[in-house]
Symmetry: C2
Subunit: 253 residues, 2 copies
Amino acid sequence: MGLVRTPATRRERQREATYDEIVSVAAQLLADGEDLSLRAVAGRMGMTAPALYRYVANYQQLIDLVAFELDKAATAEWAAAAERFPAEDPAARLSVACARFRQWALARPREFALIFANPIAEEDTERRELLTVSTSGRYLTDLLWQVWGQTKFPYPRLEELHPTVREAVLDPLIPAESGHIPAEERGILWIYMRAWSALYGVVTLESTGHCDPRVIASGQLFRSTMLDWLGVIGLDDQRERLSAILDEELAAD
Amino acid sequence: MGLVRTPATRRERQREATYDEIVSVAAQLLADGEDLSLRAVAGRMGMTAPALYRYVANYQQLIDLVAFELDKAATAEWAAAAERFPAEDPAARLSVACARFRQWALARPREFALIFANPIAEEDTERRELLTVSTSGRYLTDLLWQVWGQTKFPYPRLEELHPTVREAVLDPLIPAESGHIPAEERGILWIYMRAWSALYGVVTLESTGHCDPRVIASGQLFRSTMLDWLGVIGLDDQRERLSAILDEELAAD
DNA sequence: CAGTTTGGTTTACGCCGTTAACGGTAAACG
DNA sequence: CGTTTACCGTTAACGGCGTAAACCAAACTG
């Protein structure tokens, strides 16, 4: 009975619940197209704004909290969609996940900006650490790792990497389930970073609207980028199949 | 005497001057690390905030005005740096310009976000048109066009392009000195968009700090992306020379 | 039961964008 | 030339924001 993981004490459970409500109310606010403000969140919860300071230190922390949870929720969404392909087919899963990521970014530009375009200052180690545990990052890295397990695509050996980059992949501050990637194979993370920056470029460009709307509508910028990188990660022989999957996802909803 | 281009009438000149002051004061504000607000701008100009409404319709328009001018100024900066190579060497100029663009984005993340990450809604045709005349976009497209003049790198024929994309490159809403690019060669604009999205991805990732600081410091993400795309635009035979140029620029200041 | 911690309140401050009403002064006009 | 008008600034005010301080009741703790 009551094997629940929540640390028992009534107060702690109550507090946890309030955190959840903060996040969900904030998310609802964004979904409704309203501005995210402490006062608005508090208002919808039937509280006054200063009360929120019992839960977050300031506005930026509220943003970070919401961003983190939205990222988690969004990733779960893509992951669920990707599961229409079996775990043994990570290439297909990756394709679906990326396409869903893009569609999500187009449908929810405000949420996207919050999570992926929120400036993080160099010094701010605290907020930077949040990146490390970013759900979406971990999920995509993991998928890439699984793909490698099948295609064994080439990646730079550690000695080939720029020394600073080598450091970075050996002790990643970047989101990665790096625990199970042996040190000698960390060059894969470099491929990840490069591919991610490309995907990120397309999606950000499209999501922020800094792009011809017709090009966005066509989905071709995303499609071409994906196909290029699917090649890099050893999936050229499945080009037909995977581009069909991409097209399916792009056509949907 | 007085062959000046300014439309003469004293009032108009005065007004123009005020616009210039608004922009320069706003730019100074950003450079000083302060927040950009109507009140702050007005304050520094020795005016009250409502007075600014004689010049801009609202805050967003102030932002757009400033963004446009900052883009112009920044582009002039890169262009000036690129001129250490002759006009006959557009490949070198392009390399320098891109490197400078990145360095600028890293040094002035707030300005970068203002210009390149400011969300533009689908419907907002007015603000969208500003993109069309974006100085930086025009400059880079022009350089790419000049490179093509030398390398004649392959680009998709119009029939190969997705119909919607074909429309977009024939009647570009995208920044492009497309006037002097003949219709049959507009496939080059597709290469431009693709290359730009890649460059944009790296630079945005780095400028917003959504990236391992060590990787940023190394400059390798940018470098690798550049080299890839220099290959695509027919500069593989100059790889050595151009990467040396890139490294020089990355090492500077 | 007494004492303390927790989670909320009210009030207040100083910003912000924006509107409205008003005034002086320079340009435009008959 | 004198008169009108348009422009460019002001002040005052509204509502909303993040945030700090003082306070208070209920819930936990010994």
